[in-house]
């Protein structure tokens, strides 16, 4: 059990550090603070120009969405990079328990996405002078945690899928693009064609954004528990899917002696 915990924390953190070893304040601040804020401002002003929604709608939609980007990229890249540096084979072949290994990988990523999201929410509310009721902040933080988790679940599934395709970054980008259009980030689900809003209900993010908007609009925690539970469940399903795919891949590569997937 202690070994499992060690791999959970250590394996996760070391690989995350390797992934982000280039992170200096010069990159950190632009990537995780300035750029997201401008995205919020952009859509808020576009919304004003188009005469739809209000600043709060775009602030919350985009802020919650920022939980998704780091989760998806980091998960895809962590596992993709393992393959690139040809350590994936070593990793899969190691006797370490796989579940804690990959969950360990996910944890720092979840925290990262969560922080970005929260920082954007706070700064965006200040810049756009959006009022979020004081009592709503704690439940919103709860929603962010759950949404970060569910997006990491999708990230794990993406990462597993990425082992089958060559271009990890392209795949992650396309999935993020889909989330941005489908999940009600900037376009209310009611404005989407029916088939699109149907899909959006099985994607992470959708329910989280809705719950956060309800909370910011004054709803109580008990009014959004259904949404939050659905968001969490979606995350669990994607994570399980990702784990299953990784496991299948490991078995298959061992059989075909193709651990270093070309």
């Amino acid at each position: 059990m202690t070994a499992a915990l060690r791999i959970f924390f250590f394996g996760g953190i070391t690989s995350y550090r390797a992934l982000f070893h280039w992170l200096t304040p010069w990159i950190l601040i632009p990537t995780f603070i300035v750029e997201p804020i401008f995205q919020v401002l952009f859509f808020a002003f576009v919304g004003r120009d188009a005469g739809v929604g209000d600043d709060s709608f775009y602030l919350i939609g985009n802020a919650v969405q920022f939980a998704a980007i780091p989760c998806l990229f980091a998960m895809g890249n962590t596992i993709g990079n393992e393959r690139y540096t040809q350590t994936l084979g070593l990793l899969l072949a190691s006797p370490a328990r796989r579940l804690p290994l990959f969950l360990g990988r996910a944890l720092p990523v979840i925290i990262n996405g969560f922080c970005v999201s929260l920082v954007v929410l706070v700064l965006g509310a200040l810049v756009l002078r959006v009022h979020i009721p004081a009592e709503a902040w704690v439940p919103i933080v709860g929603v962010l945690v759950v949404t970060s988790f569910s997006c990491t679940g999708l990230g794990l599934a993406t990462a597993a899928l990425a082992l089958r395709v060559r271009e990890t970054a392209v795949l992650s980008n396309i999935i993020i693009g889909i989330l941005i259009v489908f999940c009600g980030v900037n376009v209310p689900l009611s404005a989407l064609p029916a088939w699109m809003s149907t899909i959006s209900y099985v994607l992470p993010l959708t329910h989280g954004i809705e719950a956060a908007r309800d909370l910011a609009g004054g709803a109580s925690w008990s009014a959004v528990t259904g949404l939050v539970a659905t968001e969490a469940l979606i995350g669990v399903v994607y994570a399980a899917l990702g784990m299953a795919m990784l496991f299948a891949l490991e078995v298959e590569s061992r059989r075909h002696a193709s651990l270093e997937l070309a």
Binding site: P30, T31, F38, F42, A50, V52, E167, V170, G177, L192
Partner: protein
């Protein structure tokens, strides 16, 4: 003449190389489509046809900037990883003339994205596109593409010396979309933004393309788009010698 040929061949081969990459080529065309789709849905909610058509042009042009700003500062990192950066510097051709065609080729990919997005708007969203002055519209779009390539050139130059500069590329994507009038008119933004917008070639490019599409004289804007772009290029050229020497001094040309 020799320089023109060099730029043309460099542009063509870099474009060929880039188009074959799923990240630089395919994604540069696909990704702006996601944003454009969002924007089409946004403006469609009100049922204001004129606003939707205007937004369609702006949203399509966003892809040109997107292609430049995301690739310009990562391209040299790519060359560095590929081991070709040293070879480019070791060639007797001035480094500026090697890099300029490369960044213009990125903008050219953005031009494809512009066309694809317009067609996407036309066929997926039924947004009618008819142009007041079709030929001038094409000229304005090409000039804007070239001029944004010049801005990308300065970005790329900065990344010769500073390996972390690639992160700054994506930093400029949304701010430029916001302040250059792609969708939001300058008059809707705080006054202090206006002088900044005037210094950015996309402001004039977007204005020129709009004028060509919806009526009005685009020529002044076309000229200003080119002129502001030239300023960025001039700064890039002026810096190139110093930045390359600095990279030689600090051993940042190779990846190790």
């Amino acid at each position: 003449m020799k320089i023109l040929r060099l730029v043309a061949v460099g542009w063509w081969l870099q474009l060929k190389n880039r188009s074959r990459s799923s990240f630089d080529g395919l994604l540069s065309i696909l990704y702006p489509l996601f944003f454009a789709t969002t924007i089409f849905f946004l403006y469609r909610q009100n049922g204001d046809e004129a606003a939707l058509v205007s937004a369609a042009v702006g949203a399509s042009l966003m892809g040109v900037w997107s292609a430049v700003s995301t690739s310009a500062s990562t391209t040299l990192q790519g060359e560095r990883r590929q081991g070709t950066l040293e070879l480019l510097v070791a060639a007797p051709t001035p480094f500026s003339l090697v890099i300029l065609p490369a960044t213009v080729s990125m903008a050219t990919i953005g031009l494809w994205s512009f066309i694809v997005t317009l067609l996407w708007g036309r066929f997926a969203f039924g947004i009618p596109i008819s142009f007041d002055q079709p030929l001038v519209f094409v000229i304005a779009a090409v000039v804007m593409t070239f001029s944004l390539g010049l801005v990308g050139f300065l970005q790329a130059m900065a990344s010769v010396r500073y390996r972390a500069a690639w992160a700054l590329g994506t930093l400029f994507e949304f701010p430029v979309w916001l302040v250059c009038g792609f969708l939001v008119p300058l008059s809707s933004l705080p006054d202090w933004v206006t002088p900044i917008a005037y210094l950015l070639p996309p402001t004039w490019g977007v204005s020129a393309v709009r004028a060509a599409a919806f009526g009005g004289s685009p020529w002044r804007d076309i000229a200003l788009c080119l002129a502001t772009g030239a300023i960025y290029a001039a700064i890039g050229v002026a810096l190139s010698r110093r930045l390359v020497d600095s990279a030689r001094g600090n051993a940042t040309l190779a990846l190790t």
